[in-house]
């Protein structure tokens, strides 16, 4: 029996970390861009807008990295 426990643990840790990081980052961005205050017609503060789009951009870059991992021709 040859079970690669190291690889198994690595897969588990990578999955959990990546899922929380990407989903968390995206949610943070969405939360910043869609606060209740903003919907009530208040002035759109610059800082949350910039931070929100920054979060979404980073989440998008992670998606591009995922694409890189899927396509074997790229590496």
């Amino acid at each position: 029996m040859n079970i690669n426990w190291g690889a198994l643990g690595l897969v588990a840790v990578a999955t959990i970390t990546a899922a929380i990081a990407i989903v968390g980052l995206f949610s943070l961005g969405v939360a910043a861009l869609t606060s209740e205050q903003r919907s009530r017609g208040g002035p759109a503060a610059t800082l949350p807008t910039v931070a929100g789009y920054a979060c979404l951009t980073v989440a998008g870059l992670v998606a591009v990295y995922g694409l890189y991992l899927i396509i074997p021709q790229l590496h």
């Binding site: 029996m1 897969v11 999955t15 899922a19 969405v30 606060s35 919907s39 021709q73």
Partner: protein, 417 residues
């Protein structure tokens, strides 16, 4: 030589048919949550998934060098055994589809091959320690890892969204779901598309129609990609309903969390040498994304059925494969009988499914997939009020939940007041 040619043609056609069932079985993995949350219209979803599956099939360069990854001794495998294994896998895929059960197509194929090899080559042909390390252990780990990751991700999403305005936020998540679902579809094409190519190529090499050590020919890549793409486009709506509606009533943040987790798990396992079943990962993510909000959001009865389906897949396909091999190995006449059995079995299952059809028009209208045998309709869920198998008409449909809540509003985040 004509017998060989006949057999090779039969195996190739069967392999393509298997690829088709693989596609429609697994299109739910990529798109069920997007369809359920309204992120994509059903037809758009399967079209995107189909195209990406075909693209993925063409992208994959590392074509499977072995049929089974060492689960059976490939040196002892003959084209007839491969044929029997494929027939078993197809029939099992169709059966689980009829009951709306997402089950792993790879496990069905391995099970069918194991059964066929046991009959054709004896116990020494099967590598049981590889069965444990490559099938059983990942089968336990996949839903646990995906469920835990999706549960935690969902929990954090709803923490972060406490002060967000629900409607625009849901829009963002639906758009993001398009990306996350597409990633799963593409990854699926690169992994599952190449499996059929590998089988066909190995059969061609075994029969002497292709030089040993050469890669798949262009027509093999094209036809395998086309088969999986057509299968994906046809939708597999029965499984789509179970994954998107039956397990959990998903809202777009949960759908995004589930799909992102699945994509992460598939990519991580593909690149770290510990292959996890796409189907089990995706089902685990969906359950986790329900449990991460509220444990009672998950219909555990449906989840239990899924687990029974997974446990059954390998042995059931092995039994099918053993029977098919026993008949097919008697000679060309036996092969013809198995072909006829495959065709009539397929026709019967399709005919039964038509009685309670699930299509892209009604996929989101209900949570349960009913199966109607003859005059008796039975919901397969194990319910306390389980009806006896011989129950007379009218059809009995037992719901997963005592009283279904109002239909899921795809525009909402699903936040409780």
């Amino acid at each position: 030589m004509t017998t060989t040619l006949f057999l090779v043609a039969v195996v190739i056609l069967t392999a393509l048919f298997f690829d088709f069932t693989n596609g429609f079985h697994d299109s739910a993995n990529a798109m069920a949550t997007s369809v359920a949350t309204g992120a994509l219209r059903p037809r758009t979803a399967v079209l995107i998934a189909a195209i990406l599956n075909v693209v993925g099939a063409f992208l994959s360069t590392e074509v499977a060098k072995t049929i089974s990854g060492g689960i059976v001794n490939d040196a002892l495998v003959t084209p007839t055994m491969i044929f029997a294994g494929l027939v078993a896998a197809i029939l099992w895929n169709l059966t689980t589809w009829l009951f709306g059960l997402p089950s792993s197509s790879s496990h069905a194929l391995f099970g069918g091959l194991i059964g066929a090899v046991l009959v054709g080559a004896g116990v020494s042909g099967v590598n049981f320690s590889v069965v444990v390390s490559k099938i059983l252990l990942p089968a336990i780990m996949a839903p646990l890892v995906a469920g835990l990751a999706a549960g935690l991700a969902t929990f954090f999403v709803y923490r972060l969204l406490r002060h967000a305005d629900t409607e625009p936020a849901a829009g963002w998540f639906r758009r993001a779901q398009t990306v996350s679902g597409s990633m799963i579809a593409l990854a699926h094409g690169t992994s599952d598309g190449q499996k059929t190519m590998g089988v066909i190529t190995l059969v061609l090499i075994t029969a002497g129609y292709q030089a040993s050590g050469t890669g798949p020919q262009t027509w093999v890549i094209a036809s395998a990609g086309l088969a999986i793409g057509l299968g994906t486009y046809s939708g597999g709506w029965r499984i789509m309903r179970t994954m998107g509606k039956g397990l959990v009533d998903l809202h777009s943040p949960q759908g995004f969390a589930a799909e992102t987790t699945s994509a992460a798990a598939i990519l991580a396992s593909a690149h770290m040498g510990f292959g996890l079943s796409t189907t089990q990962v995706c089902s685990g993510s969906v359950i986790g994304s329900g449990a991460g909000r509220k444990l009672s959001m998950v219909r555990w009865g449906t989840a239990r059925r899924l687990v029974y389906g997974w446990l059954l897949t390998l042995p059931a396909a092995a039994v099918f494969g053993a029977v098919a091999a026993a008949i097919a190995l008697t000679g060309p006449f036996g092969v013809v009988i198995v072909i006829l059995a495959l065709l009539s079995g397929t026709a019967a299952i399709v005919a039964i499914s038509r009685r309670t059809a699930v299509t892209r028009h009604n996929v989101n209208e209900s949570r349960e997939v009913t199966v109607q045998f003859g005059r008796v309709a039975r919901e397969l869920a194990t319910s306390p009020a389980g009806s006896p198998a011989e129950a007379p008409i009218p059809p009995i449909i037992i719901r997963h939940a005592p009283a279904p809540p109002p239909a899921n509003d795809p525009t909402s985040l699903g936040q409780q007041p």
